[in-house]
C-alpha cells in the first residue's frame, strides 16, 4: 500500500488515536433528531390531514 502524503498522514494519524474520536450522537441528540424527524412529521401529518381543506 502506497504511503499517504505527509499532511494527510498527520491528520489521519491524529484521528486514529481513540482519544481524538468524538464518538457519535448522545441520547439528547437522538431526542432532538427523532423529535424533529419523526414525531414532528407525524404531528404535522395529523394536523394537515384534518385542517383547512377547501377541496
Amino acid at each position: 500500500m502506497a504511503p499517504l502524503p505527509d499532511e494527510i498522514e498527520r491528520r489521519v494519524a491524529l484521528y486514529e488515536d481513540p482519544a481524538n474520536d468524538p464518538g457519535g450522537f448522545k441520547p439528547t441528540d437522538w431526542a432532538v433528531i427523532l423529535g424533529a424527524g419523526v414525531v414532528l412529521p407525524i404531528v404535522c401529518i395529523f394536523i394537515g390531514w384534518n385542517v383547512g381543506w377547501t377541496v
Binding site: M1, V32, I33, A36, L40, I45, G52, V55
Partner: protein, 475 residues
C-alpha cells in the same frame, strides 16, 4: 463572525483552491459551535428556492394542509440527510463525498460527485434564471418594455450573472459568507412583505383557494410531503461541508435538524400562499402584483441580490466539490470554476423556461438518486458497521485499501442504488407524476431508501463479508 471564524474561512479558501478540501480537518480548525453552525445552516437553506418549492406544493394543496405537508416532508428529508452524512462528516472533519467512501468504495466518488454536481448545477441554474426573470420584471416595473422583454433579458441576465460569479469567485469566497448573512435578511424581509400584503389584501381568497392540479385528498397530500422531502434531500452535497466545521456529531445534530430543516417549510409558506391567490407561476411576477410598481420593483432588487448571492455560494460549493475529486485536485481553480459555471450558462441561454416549467421533474430526480444513497449510508453506518469507520481507509486508494472492494467500487452500493432507483421510478414517474400503489400511502422516497438499504445489506452479508471486502471483518 468572530476572528477565529474569519481565520478558519481564510484557511478554507486556501485549502479549496489548492484541492485540499477533501483532507480531514484538524480539531483546532473546526471551531464552529452549535450557534454558529445553526446560523450558517439556516442562512444556506433559507434561499429564494423556498418560494419555488412552496409554489409547486401550492399546485396540489390548499394553504394549511400544504404548510403541514411541507413541514412533515421537509423534516423527514432532513432526518435522512442528517443520519446519512453528519455522523461521519462531523466526527472526522470530512465532506459529504468522503463520508460516502465506506459505502461506495475508494473510487465511489464517481457516483457521489456526479450526483453532487448535477444537483448543485440544477439548483443554481434555477436561481440564476430566477435572477434573469427578476431583472426583466424590474425593467418592466420601471417602464421599460413589456413581458416579451423576458425572451431577451433572461438569457442575457443569466450570462451576465454567470460572468460576475466567475469574476467574484476567481479569488475564493472573499467575504461571501458575510454577504450571505445579509441576503438571508433580504429573503426573509421580502417573504414577510409578500405574506403580510397577501393576508391583508386577499385573506378571503386565500381561505377558499383551490389548487390548480388538485385531484384527490390522499394523493395530493402525499405529493406535498414528497416534494418537500426530496427538496431537502438536495442538502446532501451541502451539509457535509458545513457540519465538518463542528467538532463532534453531538454539536452538529440539533443545528442540522432544526437550522437546515425548519426554515424551508416556513419560508416556502410564502410561495404556497402566493401561487394560491395570485395564480402566476413566475415568482418574480408576484412582487409587482402584490406591491405595485414601486414596492414591487424594490422587492425585486432584493430578490435579484438574494438569488445572485445564493447562486454564487452554490457555485463555489460545486467548484470545491470538483477540486476535491482525486483526479481533478490539481487542475487550476479557474478551470474548475468554468466546469461549474458553463452548464448554467448553457441552460440559461438554451433552456431558461424548461428549468422553471419542470421544477417538479428536477426535484423528483433528486429523490430518485439521493433517497437510495441516504438509505445505504444509514444502514451501513448504524446497522452494519455500528459506527466503526476506518479513517485511513477513506484516503487509501489501491486494491488493498480497506474500502478497495472491486476496482474501488462496492457492488452492494451499486445493487442497492439500482434497487432504490427502480422502486422510486415504479412508485412515481418524475416526468408525468403518474403514480402506482402504495405511493398515496407512503410516497416514493422512503420506500426507495428502504429497498436500497435492504438490498445493500443482503449483498454485504452474502458477498462482501464472506470475502473480507469493505473492512467489516474487524466488527
Amino acid at each position: 463572525m468572530s476572528e477565529e471564524q474569519d481565520s478558519s474561512q481564510n484557511n478554507l479558501d486556501r485549502a479549496a483552491q489548492q484541492g485540499e478540501m477533501s483532507w480531514p480537518m484538524l480539531p483546532h480548525e473546526r471551531n464552529w459551535n452549535r450557534k454558529s453552525l445553526f446560523v450558517v445552516l439556516m442562512v444556506a437553506a433559507a434561499a429564494t428556492w423556498c418560494y419555488i418549492i412552496g409554489e409547486y406544493v401550492g399546485y396540489y394543496l390548499p394553504l394549511w394542509p400544504g404548510f403541514f405537508a411541507m413541514t412533515a416532508g421537509a423534516m423527514i428529508g432532513m432526518l435522512l440527510v442528517t443520519l446519512a452524512v453528519v455522523p461521519t462528516s462531523s466526527r472526522f472533519g470530512v465532506d459529504s463525498i468522503k463520508a460516502a467512501v465506506p459505502q461506495f468504495g475508494a473510487n465511489g466518488w464517481v457516483i457521489t460527485v456526479a450526483l453532487q454536481y448535477l444537483s448543485i448545477i440544477g439548483w443554481n441554474a434555477l436561481l440564476l434564471i430566477f435572477f434573469g426573470r427578476s431583472v426583466s420584471r424590474f425593467l418592466n416595473a420601471v417602464g421599460l418594455g413589456d413581458e416579451s422583454l423576458a425572451d431577451i433579458v433572461v438569457p442575457i441576465g443569466t450570462v451576465v450573472a454567470c460572468a460576475l460569479v466567475f469574476i467574484i469567485l476567481r479569488r475564493g469566497t472573499t467575504g461571501l459568507e458575510r454577504v450571505a448573512m445579509w441576503l438571508f435578511f433580504f429573503i426573509v424581509g421580502v417573504g414577510l412583505f409578500l405574506i403580510i400584503v397577501i393576508f391583508v389584501q386577499k385573506s378571503d381568497e386565500l381561505a377558499t383557494a383551490v389548487p390548480a392540479y388538485a385531484t384527490g385528498k390522499q394523493i395530493d397530500f402525499q405529493f406535498g410531503i414528497e416534494i418537500a422531502l426530496v427538496s431537502l434531500l438536495s442538502w446532501w452535497p451541502y451539509i457535509g461541508s458545513m457540519t465538518r466545521m463542528a467538532r463532534s456529531p453531538s454539536i452538529a445534530a440539533a443545528p442540522s435538524m432544526l437550522g437546515m430543516g425548519l426554515p424551508v417549510p416556513i419560508l416556502s409558506f410564502v410561495g404556497l400562499a402566493a401561487i394560491l391567490v395570485l395564480e402566476t407561476s413566475d415568482p418574480s411576477g408576484w412582487m409587482i402584483q402584490v406591491g405595485g410598481n414601486l414596492f414591487g420593483a424594490l422587492a425585486l432588487l432584493f430578490v435579484m441580490a438574494a438569488n445572485f448571492g445564493t447562486a454564487t455560494a452554490g457555485l463555489y460549493a460545486s467548484t470545491v466539490g470538483i477540486k476535491a475529486v482525486p483526479k481533478l485536485g490539481r487542475i487550476p481553480w479557474n478551470f474548475a470554476l468554468m466546469i461549474s459555471i458553463l452548464p448554467v450558462v448553457f441552460i440559461g441561454i438554451f433552456f431558461p423556461n424548461w428549468v422553471f416549467d419542470n421544477f417538479g421533474t428536477f426535484v423528483a430526480y433528486i429523490g430518485v438518486f439521493f433517497a437510495p444513497l441516504c438509505g445505504i449510508q444509514i444502514v451501513d453506518y448504524f446497522g452494519i458497521r455500528r459506527g466503526r469507520i476506518n479513517i485511513r481507509g477513506l484516503y487509501e486508494t489501491g486494491s488493498e485499501s480497506p474500502y478497495g472492494y472491486w476496482f474501488g467500487i462496492n457492488p452492494a452500493a451499486i445493487i442497492g442504488m439500482a434497487g432504490g432507483v427502480v422502486t422510486y421510478l415504479y412508485l412515481l414517474d418524475p416526468i408525468s407524476y403518474s403514480v402506482n400503489d402504495p405511493f398515496p400511502i407512503i410516497g416514493a422516497s422512503l420506500p426507495a431508501a428502504a429497498i436500497a438499504a435492504v438490498a445493500y445489506t443482503i449483498v454485504t452479508f452474502a458477498i462482501n463479508k464472506p470475502l473480507n471486502k469493505g473492512d467489516y471483518t474487524k466488527h
